[in-house]
């Protein structure tokens, strides 16, 4: 899983001098700072939104909470470059709706990335929240604490692992994102990496910068570990938790609904409506439906395979992390997560480099595509799987063993069904991210293998963005059902 790291090492060692120079440009430090700032800001705001939505949709009597949960998770399926473009055209200078100058630069990047990454936190936090024992909240309320206070003092501390995990993903996503920051003209670290490759064909400099990104990731990882430490030791009460009695929102129902409406309106309705409007124009130009359909099929195929494979690979690591936490486990986890912080292009090139040398028979086949996607998106599956496993009470597994079942059997019949919610959440995140992915598919897919994301790319690349509207809309459509299943699955 740390193949990208190997690749970076080889490239840098080719010309360590150049690599060193690339790092010591004063711009490097500045951009690293800016990128980190953006990542932190996005992680914070996305956490806030995600936790609020998760609470509203799992613990209250908000009308239509299931539906809201699905709708609120949907913005994630909008590729950030599409989303950014949509916002620029909708809200930017000369925008269709309103004109907001801040859409360019930090403000815009923050806004757009928050909007398109908070589902990364929402999904695991929702899963974790619905598994928390509501008796604790009741106990707190019986002590005279208001729901808000209970939320702060009881729920939040227990959700910390899930939030920290999700926020880490959002931060890493932000660090590695290229599409949104380039469209929104925020000067970020990834932009420099891309430019090194694209403009100056400077792979060494790019590799050095990418390695720096990995370093930053390791720091964030340590930070997350600290947030997580000693928390969530699980339920200690005898018996099985009761189902939660929803908090009655009362006069807060309307504000809550308004909040959800705004969120979904901005994150989903604006993009979808804009895309729909553009699509109607594109439809007039007789689009090649069969091709789009094939693309959709291929997207489902790669996304599905990647999700399945990532879950399989994540499983042993998550088990290790949940059952034998410790320094060594953290290292394994961190190493298997390096792919996620790297820009897609770096991962893809690493796989090119390694693939053609180590497994030429698999080069530019679906196999290497799936492999690369797993390397790239593993942490998405890993994080929520680990959280889910952590919440399965030890004694329940022990009870299974005392019934004469071996560890594997107990795993299959007890642990897996109890952790399935979180596992599916992770798999869904991989699926949703994989179907948006571009460089891997462009460089590593079998020749002529088109997916919706490559179609969007190839259309928007030559013509105006509108041309990509139909595949983009179809992408949203194929991503929605798994998301729906996922959100409605957890009890």
């Amino acid at each position: 899983m740390c193949l990208p790291l190997v690749y970076l090492g080889i490239v840098i060692s080719d010309a360590p001098g150049t690599a060193w120079d690339a790092l010591w440009r004063d711009r490097t430090a500045r951009l690293a700072g800016r990128s980190l700032g953006l990542a932190a800001a996005v992680a914070l705001s996305a956490s806030a939104i995600a936790v609020a939505v998760a609470w509203l949709t799992t613990r209250t009597d908000l009308p239509g909470r299931r539906t809201w949960a699905v709708l609120a998770a949907l913005p994630f399926v909008v590729p950030s470059y599409v989303g950014a473009y949509l916002f620029v055209s909708a809200l930017g200078p000369g925008g269709v709706l309103v004109q907001m100058d801040w859409i360019y630069g930090f403000g815009g990047a923050w806004f757009v990335l928050t909007l398109f990454t908070y589902p990364l936190i929402l999904l695991p936090v929702r899963a974790a929240m619905s598994r928390l024992d509501p008796a604790l909240e009741e106990a707190a309320r019986s002590m005279g604490r208001t729901p808000v206070d209970v939320f702060r003092t009881v729920l939040l501390p227990q959700l910390r692992p899930a939030i920290a995990g999700g926020a880490l993903l959002a931060a890493l996503y932000t660090l590695s994102d290229f599409g949104a920051v380039s469209i929104l003209r925020f000067d970020s670290f990834t932009r420099v990496i891309y430019q090194s490759y694209k403009a100056s064909f400077d792979r060494t400099g790019a590799a050095a910068l990418a390695a720096l990104l990995v370093l930053v990731m390791l720091v964030l990882f340590a930070l997350e570990a600290r947030l997580r430490r000693g928390r969530g030791s699980g339920r200690t009460s005898p018996g099985v938790a009761r189902a939660a009695t929803p908090v009655r929102l009362g006069r807060w129902t309307v504000p809550a609904l308004l909040g959800c409406t705004t969120l979904v309106g901005v994150g989903l309705v604006i993009p979808v409506v804009t895309l729909a409007v553009w699509s109607t124009r594109a439809i007039a130009g007789e689009p090649e439906w069969s091709r789009i359909l094939t693309g959709a099929g291929n997207s489902l195929l790669t996304g599905g395979l990647a999700a399945g494979a990532a879950s399989l690979v994540a499983l042993p690591i998550a088990l290790l992390a949940a059952r034998h936490p410790g320094r060594r486990t953290r290292v394994v986890e961190a190493m298997s997560s390096t792919g996620y912080v790297l820009p897609g292009l770096v991962v893809a090139l690493a796989m090119v480099f390694v693939g053609i040398r180590v497994a030429p028979w698999a080069y530019q086949t679906l196999f290497i595509v799936v492999f690369a996607l797993v390397v790239h998106f593993l942490p998405l599956a890993l994080g929520s799987m680990r959280t889910a496993l952590l919440q399965v009470p030890r004694s329940v597994e022990e009870a299974g063993r005392s019934c004469g079942r071996g560890p594997v059997s107990v795993w299959v019949t007890i642990t897996a069904p109890l952790a399935i919610g979180g596992t599916l959440a992770g798999a869904a995140l991989v699926f949703l991210t994989a179907v948006k992915d571009l460089p891997t598919l462009l460089l590593l897919a079998p020749t002529g293998f088109e997916t919706l994301s490559t179609q969007i790319w190839s259309r928007t690349n030559v013509a105006a963005f509108e041309a990509g509207a139909i595949p983009a809309l179809v992408l949203l459509a194929v991503s929605a059902p798994p998301l729906y299943l996922l959100v409605t699955k957890d009890r």
Partner: protein, 372 residues
């Protein structure tokens, strides 16, 4: 101790709980409470009044709806019907007459011990207890209640590092810490050993009394209900069977079910003559005059005396066939000469053994109820 103001006579008049206003009579009053879970009718039209400063035990078999009842009082369950007043304030009205009322749990100012403890896993013992005391908990008070439950040395442990009984004691300490005017206790002593239970029970009782706290204690343990409570409400299948002082419910059970639930009892058919005597295979016994026709005679084992040589009139020959040893006492199963079986509870010493031939006679209260 930081108690509000001690009530002199806890069962009479307004207690010292100065933050409760409204009619001075009842701290908790509920009328016609009903709660269903799907097609399970957990609580059926239950009415109960608890006076200021009184300790009432809600006693009933497993699954009879005790927890549901308590959770409804605390505001965690919305009843399907009925009305609840706490400290003179209407907190729940689901009767359908007038506007539905449901005061949130945190607005009821009621302490609660949960049957499953509901400790905060992310907080240590001190913080769990302190949590009930608000943002800046009075550490002296935390120490005080921890001492009460014998956990003064476990303050820094997290719940998962405690044994089951220790966890339960933390839950108890947490509920008592803020000295609420009303506490609801759901099986608060079930995981304590007898010695500790007796000590903690005694301490809790004293503490409730001193502070004039009104308590509703849910328990399935007859001993606990009878020894701790001022009154016992016996519950069965969602309904109250009898409410009364411990002596009343034990010695004068209203129904055979209550008699059987509160302790061992042997039942014999008989018939009453309407003039105050019931005759049965066992003996002729006094009963309420006016009772006539077929009756059931309920005899508790401790009313059956045995001795190696029977002196009293009416003593009968019996054979010891079984015996259960409880330390301080023993339960002896006797077979009378006509094959009838009856149990006798005797002090743990001297020991009786199967095969002993004895004399048995009745000396103590028996209950005579009309046969259905």
């Amino acid at each position: 101790m930081r108690f509000r103001s001690p009530a002199d006579d806890p069962t009479a008049g307004p207690g010292g709980t100065d933050d409760l206003d409204g009619p001075p009579c009842h701290a908790i009053s509920c009328v016609g409470l009903s709660k269903r879970f799907g097609d399970i009718h957990a609580v059926r039209g239950l009415s109960l009044d608890v006076r200021r400063g009184e300790i009432v035990a809600l006693l009933g078999p497993s699954g009879c709806g005790k927890t549901t009842m308590l959770r409804t009082l605390a505001g965690f369950e919305h009843p399907d019907d009925g009305r609840i007043t706490i400290g003179g304030h209407l907190v729940t009205d689901a009767t359908g007459e007038g506007r539905a009322v449901h005061v949130a749990p945190e607005g009821r100012r009621v302490g609660m011990v949960f049957q499953d403890y509901a400790l905060f896993p992310h907080l240590d013992v001190r913080a769990n207890v302190g949590y009930a005391l608000g943002r800046r908990p009075d550490q002296a008070r935390v120490d005080e209640v921890l001492q009460l439950v014998g956990l003064e040395e476990h303050g820094d442990r997290r719940p998962h590092e405690l044994s089951g009984g220790q966890q339960q004691r933390v839950a108890l300490a947490r509920a008592l810490a803020p000295s609420p005017a009303v506490v609801l206790l759901d099986e608060p002593f079930s995981n304590l050993d007898a010695a500790l239970r007796v000590r903690v029970r005694g301490e809790v009782r004293r503490l409730l009394r001193e502070a004039g706290v009104t308590a509703l204690l849910v328990t399935h343990d007859q001993d606990e209900a009878l020894s701790m409570a001022d009154r016992v409400a016996v519950m069965h299948a969602g309904q109250l069977q009898q409410v009364g002082t411990p002596e009343e419910v034990y010695a004068s059970p209203a129904t055979r079910w209550v008699a059987e639930f509160l302790g061992e009892v042997d039942v014999f058919p008989g018939s009453a003559d309407g003039a105050g005597t019931a005759t049965s295979v066992l003996a002729a016994l006094p009963c309420r005059p006016g009772l006539e026709g077929p009756v059931e005679i309920l005899v508790r084992p401790e009313s059956v005396h045995i001795d190696a040589v029977g002196t009293p009139r009416g003593a009968r020959d019996a054979l010891v066939v079984e015996r259960e040893y409880y330390g301080h006492d023993q339960l002896v199963v006797l077979e009378l000469d006509d094959g009838l079986k009856v149990r006798s509870r005797r002090p743990g010493y001297p020991a009786w053994h199967p095969g002993d031939r004895v004399k048995a006679w009745i000396d103590g209260p028996v209950t005579v109820l009309p046969r259905a």
